[in-house]
């Protein structure tokens, strides 16, 4: 394909999320959120793959990549990472009124920011690792009136459409063709996200990072935040234990010996 003729405007939606797999999580006093002071935040795992796919498409076809997030000022580190990895522009959507937005309200905010931008493709992640809604992408596509494909495992650009593989259960995939403009929510493993280079970081400093708020987007307070949401958190709690493993204690040798015992008692070794 001819590079310039097929140039693509690509928007990638990224969320700045806490890494929690290895961290100790505690619920904050109000019981409606977790304590995040000691947590490390980074780009959502799924969005990392979405960003890489955006940059790969740009490298193949020409065009521009815009990374966009709804989040606090701290989310700039995630946007800077996107710029360093090959995004051309970044937009942060921040407003006191946006706080407490659920997936639906977040999609409404993204919609207002994106609807007047030029785009051929919007890339998002399958889900955010914190709230795990798997909802923002498809609501956004519906608000924009464009088709969507979720769980995307492979993307092949064709003339005016995309051929995509979509992941189903049990290792099965389905192949679809979707007309552009479209929104694709990508699944992990679709590519190999690149590392940030020193050059990339240097170049990123000169790139534009725009910040927009409620009024800039023409939104009303009641459309976003808790008021504009479908869901209200009543309480957060550490899951009750219905069944718990018997924890084997002792030194390394002792624990290992106990495991060997268990395995032997079942006649497995």
């Amino acid at each position: 394909m001819d590079k310039e003729e097929n140039r693509m405007d690509i928007i990638v939606c990224v969320k700045h999320v806490p890494e929690t797999a290895e961290a100790e999580i505690t619920v904050s006093p109000g019981g409606k959120s977790i304590n995040t002071e000691d947590l490390v935040f980074d780009i959502n795992e799924w969005d990392d793959y979405a960003l890489e796919e955006a940059v790969l498409l740009k490298e193949k076809l020409g065009g521009a990549v815009t990374a966009i997030t709804v989040g606090p000022q701290d989310a700039d580190s995630t946007l800077r990472k996107c710029l360093a990895r090959g995004a051309d522009k970044a937009i942060r959507l921040t407003d006191k009124a946006f706080e407490g937005s659920d997936a639906f309200a977040t999609a409404k905010i993204l919609h207002k920011a994106i609807k007047d931008l030029p785009f051929d493709i919007i890339l998002t992640g399958t889900q955010a690792g914190d709230d795990g809604y798997a909802q923002v992408s498809v609501v956004l596509a519906e608000l924009l009136g464009i088709p969507h494909v979720t769980m995307v495992k492979k993307v092949e650009p064709k003339e005016g459409f995309m051929r995509v593989n979509r992941e189903l259960e049990g290792g099965l995939q389905e192949v679809l063709e979707v007309k552009l403009p479209a929104l694709l929510a990508v699944q992990t493993g679709i590519n190999e996200p690149r590392y940030v280079s020193i050059m990339g970081i240097r170049k990123a400093r000169e790139k534009e990072l725009k910040v927009l708020g409620l009024a800039d987007l023409g939104l009303k307070e009641e459309e976003v935040g808790g008021c504009g949401s479908w869901i209200t958190v009543e309480k957060m709690f550490i899951p009750p234990v219905e069944k718990e493993a018997e924890i084997l204690t002792g030194g390394l040798d002792e624990v290992s010996a106990k495991i060997v015992e268990i395995i032997k008692s079942k006649g497995l070794v």
């Binding site: 929690t20 797999a21 290895e22 100790e24 999580i25 619920v27 977790i34 997936a103 639906f104 690792g129 795990g132 809604y133 798997a134 909802q135 498809v138 519906e142 088709p147 969507h148 979720t150 769980m151 593989n165 979509r166 259960e169 049990g170 290792g171 995939q173 389905e174 192949v175 679809l176 063709e177 007309k179 992990t188 949401s229 479908w230 209200t232 958190v233 009543e234 309480k235 957060m236 709690f237 550490i238 899951p239 219905e242 069944k243 718990e244 493993a245 924890i247 084997l248 390394l252 040798d253 624990v255 290992s256 010996a257 495991i259 060997v260 268990i262 395995i263 032997k264 497995l268 070794v269």
Partner: protein, 325 residues
């Protein structure tokens, strides 16, 4: 009489398990609230399914159209939004599956019906709909309420509710004419694609030594391979290991990988996300090794070791080899 809708999910000639799980939850709710349980079946030549669903419901609404043969969220949405607008069910249950996540959010947006996704529980509390969801990879639960509405949509996490058999209810089967007038021009199903089978079949192994992101680097993989070898087992893994290309995709355990039931499953450096656990929870014995005592995997395991895997795994391997010598 008001209704609770359960959207039947099927693929390649089979009703999927999540359908029966949702019927069980839906029945419980319908009894509590005095509503009818209605299965909604979209597809092509699916009359056989209708009979099965009728056994468990008050009625089955069936829309039979060649355009619904393979799942297409856009086509399904058109049909469902018609049905929901007409019959106004207070609640529609959809599986939180590849099918459901592609469909429910746009359907809810079109109908302006509040949606809660990936729920592990749902209930009506004084006209309000209340759900329980898991966040932060299963480390925290959230109880949430939905904005007041005449119609809600909820996607239920698969393998969470146990499908129960009931005395056949002989529900009525009603065919509803399809509102689809033409093919969806902007989205086409082409075909299914299945990766060719590899050399190792993890579903046939008696012993699986399963490795997760806790292994950190590809260079560390030999420590689990040695343990597997000592035990005469096979190495399987969680998804990130396949995503990084450290093991082929046929070694992945979980919803998007394989469902396994070995005699022994050792989970090493795996946190226990539900997508992983639903693929291994029926193993005979599960031993988890994880340095985080709060890791959800300990809720699925029979035995747990809270330790650094880089210390336990080599010691355990030595112990097993010693015992053999």
């Amino acid at each position: 009489m008001k209704e609770i809708f359960v959207l039947a999910e099927h693929r390649r000639g089979e009703l999927r398990d999540v359908t029966f799980e949702m019927l069980t939850k839906g029945r419980e709710l319908s009894q509590k609230t005095n509503m009818d349980l209605t299965a909604v079946l979209l597809g092509y030549n699916v009359k056989e399914f209708a009979k099965k669903l009728a056994d468990q419901t008050k009625r089955v609404l069936i829309v039979d159209d060649a355009r619904l043969e393979n799942f297409n969220a856009e086509a399904y949405q058109k049909v469902l939004s018609n049905l929901i607008s007409e019959r106004k069910p207070p609640l529609t249950l959809i599986g939180h599956t590849a099918f459901g996540v592609d469909l429910a959010p746009s359907l809810a947006t079109e109908l302006n019906a509040p949606l809660a996704t990936d729920c592990i529980d749902v209930d009506f509390e004084e006209e309000k709909l209340v759900v329980v969801r898991q966040v932060y990879g299963g480390k925290v639960n959230v109880k949430a309420s939905l904005r007041k509405s005449d119609s809600y949509i909820v996607t239920l996490r698969p393998a969470t509710f146990e499908a129960q058999q009931v005395e056949p209810l002989g529900g009525e089967i009603t065919e509803v004419p399809s509102p689809l007038k033409e093919d969806i021009p902007y989205k086409k199903f082409i075909e299914y694609f299945e990766a060719p089978a590899g050399e190792v079949d993890i579903t046939a192994a008696d012993i699986l030594v399963s490795v997760g992101r806790g292994i950190k680097e590809a260079d560390n993989m030999p420590i689990v391979e040695k343990l597997a070898k000592a035990l005469g087992g096979v190495v399987s893994c969680s998804r990130p290991i396949v995503d990084k290309g450290w093991l082929p995709s046929d070694r992945q355990v979980g919803t998007s990988g394989k469902t396994v039931k070995p005699k022994l499953y050792i989970a090493i450096g795996i946190s226990g996300a539900f997508q992983h656990v639903s693929g291994m929870k029926n193993s005979d014995i599960i031993i988890a090794i994880n340095k985080d005592p709060k890791a959800p995997i300990f809720r699925a395991a029979d035995y747990g070791v809270v330790e650094d895997l880089f210390k336990v795994v080599p010691t355990l391997t030595d112990k097993i080899l010693e015992g053999k010598a």
